[in-house]
């Protein structure tokens, strides 16, 4: 269980990114965070695994406060939390397999991993993760030789290497076309349902929110303006969250 309590973030240049954010995520949820660009979605996700240090507030991960965890403890927390990024964040010049193996760094023997030595069991695990996202044959390719959708699948395989209890997905499909968007989100949904991995995902398109979310948190100017079920977001709510002039844009795929 993840509890976010009174979270504040003010950047050194004075930008207020989050103001008194409170919500709870139960195990097994597919929580979608929505909001305009700059509403604080990315900051919120990065505070959860402390890629960004919050200014005030608490984040309890299974009862342990992430915000005050010392370095070693923080790394142990981080390795239980996979993360998927809008820009995939792969090492472009490295092979797909190396990118996936890198997801295991938090568990690996630090000295052997620095020499680039990986036990056969870990290599097999990486190969299985790639099979799982359907690109087993790309293991030896350079990461930048893959298409956007394939790169994001490498990103998911890398997160899988962590055997995560929680996956944070920061706009995972914003750089992809609608067809690919669904295929990527279906992988996340599958992990959520079959492996009981909690997913916290920020999304742009309302139809995707309706299709995948089990619960929604909406941010506006760094504040939570809505928490509830996806069906509850009607036109009125939508205008509240995105402003009066917003027009609902659909990702364009027929929903099944």
């Amino acid at each position: 269980m993840l509890e976010v309590q009174h979270l504040h973030k003010v950047y050194p240049n004075g930008t207020v990114a989050l103001t008194d954010v409170n919500f709870t995520v139960n195990d097994g949820e597919f929580l979608v965070i929505i909001g305009l660009s700059g509403s604080g979605k990315s900051t919120l996700l990065r505070c959860i695994n402390r890629l960004i240090d919050p200014t005030a507030g608490k984040i309890l991960w299974d009862g342990v406060d992430v915000t005050t965890a010392p370095a070693g403890e923080l790394r142990r927390i981080r390795r239980q939390i996979g993360m998927v990024f809008q820009q995939f964040n792969l090492v472009k010049r490295s092979s797909v397999l190396t990118n996936v193996l890198a997801g295991r760094l938090g568990y690996a023997n630090p000295y052997l991993s620095l020499l680039g030595i990986w036990p056969p069991a870990e290599r097999e695990r990486a190969q299985r993760a790639l099979t799982r996202v359907g690109i087993a044959d790309k293991a030896a390719s350079r990461a930048d030789a893959l298409s956007g959708g394939q790169q994001q699948r490498v990103g998911i395989a890398r997160a899988l290497m962590q055997e995560p209890k929680l996956i944070l997905a920061d706009e995972p499909v914003a750089s992809l076309d609608p067809v690919l968007a669904h295929s990527i989100l279906q992988y996340l949904e599958q992990l959520n349902r079959e492996e009981k991995i909690t997913v916290i995902c920020s999304l742009h398109f309302l139809d995707l929110v309706h299709r995948y979310a089990t619960r929604v948190v909406a941010l506006k100017d760094g504040q939570v303006v809505f928490t509830g079920l996806p069906q509850e977001i009607d036109r009125a709510r939508f205008k509240e969250i995105y402003g009066e002039e917003a027009i609902e844009v659909r990702a364009g795929m027929a929903e099944s």
């Binding site: 964040n89 760094l105 568990y107 290497m161």
Partner: protein, 383 residues
């Protein structure tokens, strides 16, 4: 509305004029300071000419020289022995008479000998001793003509005639690289390897320093910021030293020679590569670092897996580029006593062996060009 705009315009025009005047004054001072003297440049062309010619005709080939004795039997008196046969071509002696009586005077010609050389004409007696004749000089075509006398001592004895004889130095065999070529080759290899050693040593030091001097790696917390600024400043300070000045300093310290030059070069290269490398590190895509940090990897792991693969091509390219630069610099360092081809060149110029200096100059040109070409090719491949 108009007046403030006009008020702002006038000073701006004035400022432009002042800047133009300032620049002009700077150029006048610069022109006088560098003692520009075009008439002398043109008028003294003759002084530079021969030197230039020497430089342009490097000492490259040599031929092996062997003493060769030309002989021709000349019976005295006539009929006392068979007459010698004059060959049709090649270096040869041609006497005015096929044989001579005692006390006869006759001319002897030499044809196709070494030009402008001093020789001694002599008699080879039947006893195998020789009797010296006049010293003669060949002309530009390798020809001479001299008067010779048949003294009683040269008379035929037991049917063996005396021979007229001249000793020549004749080049034999094909052209070979001259000694200068080998000396230059030795020296330029010293230079190339001096550059290689100093560049390699510099890389070993510069790589870790560059990470410390990279904002995105080091500048975290107070200690990190301090380390970042200290490293940056140190690199800047060392980069401002001219390698020649450092080389002179180290020459007094460890003695003149390639070692002093290599140390000087290494120090400057550390500073320069450290800066270039750190900028490459600062320009990486931060995404992978973020992603690997999120997996629970430690900082060293993040750098090795997330940063190093991104910077390897840049680092290699900068290193090769700097080796190329260092070959050039070490030539100049050599000139002030740092050994290698520069030192050789200085020695040759100081002892007026201008053809050998020319050989060195050509070698430098070829090597610098080759390094430039190679480094450009390799960098093209890495891009």
């Amino acid at each position: 509305m108009n007046s403030p705009a006009r008020g702002a315009k006038l000073p701006r025009a004035l400022r432009t004029i002042l800047i133009v005047i300032g620049v002009l004054v700077a150029y006048v001072i610069a022109y006088r300071g560098s003692e520009v003297d075009f008439p002398r440049l043109i008028g003294s062309l003759g002084k530079g000419g021969p030197l230039m010619q020497d430089f342009l005709t490097p000492d490259l080939v040599t031929r092996e020289i062997q003493p060769v004795t030309l002989q021709l039997a000349l019976p005295v008196p006539c009929g006392s022995a068979p007459e010698g046969e004059v060959p049709a071509s090649g270096p040869r002696l041609v006497p005015g008479v096929p044989c001579a009586e005692l006390r006869d005077k006759f001319t002897v010609e030499g044809i196709d000998l070494a030009p402008n050389t001093e020789l001694q004409l002599r008699w080879r007696l039947p006893s195998d001793q020789y009797f010296p004749g006049p010293f003669i000089s060949t002309d530009a075509d390798g020809h001479f003509s001299a008067e010779f006398e048949a003294r009683p001592i040269v008379a035929t004895k037991d049917g063996v005639p005396s021979k007229i004889e001249v000793e020549l130095l004749v080049p034999v065999g094909g052209p070979k690289p001259s000694a200068a070529v080998f000396e230059v080759l030795d020296a330029i290899i010293v230079t190339i390897f001096m550059a290689l050693v100093s560049t390699t040593a510099a890389v070993v030091v510069a790589v870790p320093l560059s990470f410390l001097a990279a904002r995105n790696i080091t500048r975290r917390g107070r200690a990190g910021t301090a380390i970042y600024y200290i490293t940056r400043t140190t690199l800047s300070v060392f980069r401002s030293y001219e390698p020649i000045i450092l080389a002179t300093l180290f020459a007094f310290w460890v003695g003149f020679g390639p070692f002093a030059g290599a140390i000087a070069l290494a120090i400057v290269t550390v500073a320069s590569l450290g800066k270039l490398y750190s900028e490459a590190v600062e320009n990486i895509d931060p995404g992978p670092m973020e992603a690997l940090t999120a997996t629970g990897a430690n900082r060293l792991q993040v750098v090795l897996y997330g940063v190093v693969p991104q910077i390897v091509p840049d680092f290699l390219s900068f290193t090769i580029y700097h080796w190329d630069i260092n070959v050039r610099i070490s030539t100049i360092i050599g000139y002030v006593g740092g050994g290698g081809i520069g030192y050789y060149l200085a020695q040759m110029i100081n002892t007026s062996q201008n053809n050998k200096a020319g050989t060195a100059i050509w070698a430098i040109v070829v090597v610098v060009w080759a390094m430039d070409f190679l480094s450009a090719e390799v960098r093209k491949r890495l891009a």
